[in-house]
Symmetry: C2
Subunit: 348 residues, 2 copies
């Protein structure tokens, strides 16, 4: 029994292929930069995400994140929720680790308006943040990049390589994966494969971690003077990188400090890391050696913070990953899709 007559309404569905086509018409870096600036100006809504974790019958760890968010854009509100699920056992079966859907809402009636594949946008916005971070915080004249981990996020980073980077060194625990990725990009960039993480990192101006490890391995002493570490994955750098870096930058301190699963949140809980405002975790007395998170990417973009202080400083950027970037891109994709009538229209 349909107890309420809903008026006929439609949803637009965009599969991955349509999202990719729409993105080809979008200046991804400009959209992500605009969203970060709006975040710095308080024109965004970024609630805590919902997290569901489980174990598959094969014993691998799987999880689903539901990340709502909103931005006040020049054309009005952009609102949505990104769902992105992951299973660490997928790559061994030839499947991408992550997959999900981004749902965009009509801000006036609040109903869902568009659903699109979210893994492509998620990887793309992550690589775009690294590219912007490198532009803002890379050493002047930076040239060589290390990519640790050769999965989807490494590929997204190679597709949106930061300006100035002319050679890339790849490392993966699975040497076949690293070699396959090197072959795939050899025609457009100077690429080599390292035998271990240390030789991949040493001497590089930009170090990007895109792994699935849950235990740190990257000590400060591997890092060249002036190196920028884009700590994209969960737990690659060791605590001494946080302690000794000349500058530590996050995307959103509230997201980072509430997270139990990543290094910076744990250091904060242990009294070893203070917020950009100098604040400690409630009920925790900071250690005398505690350091402060210096600032946010948005503050550097808006000019509220000067950024890198010296070309010799090691800079650590630790983005948590913000739904508002997916939603800003999702809004841009929606606009292209409406113009091209892309995807499939579904009755609600």
């Amino acid at each position: 029994m349909n107890f309420t007559e809903y008026p006929a309404s439609e949803l637009r569905y965009l599969p991955r292929a349509a999202v990719i086509e729409c993105c080809a018409e979008i200046d991804v870096l400009a959209v992500v930069e605009d969203a970060l600036v709006r975040h710095g100006r308080g024109q965004t809504m970024l609630p805590e995400e919902a997290y569901l974790g489980w174990e598959t019958s094969a014993g691998t760890a799987a999880r689903s994140l539901a990340m709502p968010g909103g931005l006040r854009l020049s054309g009005g509100l952009a609102l949505g929720v990104k769902t992105i699920n992951g299973n660490l056992g997928n790559p061994d079966r030839g499947l991408a680790r992550s997959q999900g859907l981004l749902m965009m809402f009509d801000p006036e009636i609040a109903w869902p308006r568009t659903i699109m594949e979210s893994a492509y946008l998620s990887a793309t916005r992550t690589a775009a943040v690294t590219a912007l971070t490198a532009r803002l915080l890379g050493r002047p004249g930076m040239r060589g990049a290390a990519l640790i981990g050769c999965g989807t996020l490494a590929k997204a980073h190679l597709a949106l390589l930061p300006a100035g980077i002319t050679e890339v060194c790849l490392y993966d625990r699975d040497p076949l994966r690293a070699r396959a990725l090197a072959e795939a990009v050899r025609d457009r960039i100077e690429v080599r494969v390292a035998a271990d993480a240390e030789s991949c990192v040493r001497g590089r101006d930009l170090v990007v971690t895109v792994t699935t490890v849950t235990e740190g391995y990257l000590p400060f002493e591997w890092l060249a003077p002036g190196a920028l570490v884009a700590h994209v994955s969960l737990d690659d750098v060791l605590p001494d990188v946080v302690r000794r870096a000349g500058l530590v930058v996050v995307d959103d301190w509230d997201l980072v400090r509430h997270d139990h699963r990543r290094l910076l949140g744990r250091l904060h809980r242990d009294g070893l890391l203070l917020g950009p405002d100098g604040g400690s975790h409630p009920g925790v007395t900071p250690e005398p050696s505690a350091r402060r998170v210096d600032t946010t990417l948005a503050a550097i973009l808006t000019g509220a913070h000067p950024g890198r202080r010296s070309e010799h400083d090691v800079v650590l950027s630790n983005p948590f990953g913000m739904s508002i970037l997916d939603i800003a891109l999702g809004q841009a994709v929606e606009e292209v899709a409406a113009r091209r009538d892309a995807g499939v229209r579904l009755a609600m």
Copy 2:
């Protein structure tokens, strides 16, 4: 550039009409009861929901909830996330207040597998919980029900009327809405329309609040001895109903106590309400007059709590609304949909 080749995969999409058709083959009460029992046995996962609130350009309050959840069923894990959005301004425009999508996941690879309209299931499971609650906690021989609020949830309750209820009294602030609903169900139930909330409530054995009010109006003295109040909407009963009820029951104490937006969570924060374990809010000293939440629906269903103590007691049931019920129904709908090849299959 598609930096990762995803294997071809499919999603099933079920519009509202298909969900309703599939539900016709499901024993909704049995599915919801089974999910509640599993919740009582610790066979569920119920993380905190994510909440995004905003104001529409017309100045009405809108919100999106993302509610993940999981259950261990006999056939394996059922996992998903319900998104349900609402805009209080919709009914005045002839639109349902709430709309959203339920996404079900493949527990082995974690990818989304099915998307379906969620407002129908959401209203249905809410009414099913009231029907089960009435069976468990209604006064012996109960006959008359009051429905305060005549929107979608009232209609869902009339479609799943608790066993024993033979007459219903309706009230809505908009008398036309109440009269229209009465006309629509007059052929299958004895129904009348009350001129005010008080005369609707007085003398009824079952009082169901399904309103959108944000300020309480229902005092204890309106309630007949032995009445069961199913406090489905946010904030209808006044604090003295909580204080003086013979039995106070919730669906999940963790969800209820964390909620800032509803009466029971606020009373807990104010030191006026303790958990079923006697616990007070961290850092809050309970008032001497504080009462305890007696138990959960699941504990009564599994026999861990005896339920109603006397036929004269007023019983207050205050369900928060649990995603696991939507997901249990979603799993049942998925099974019917697969058998009937219902809905639309979409490339991911």
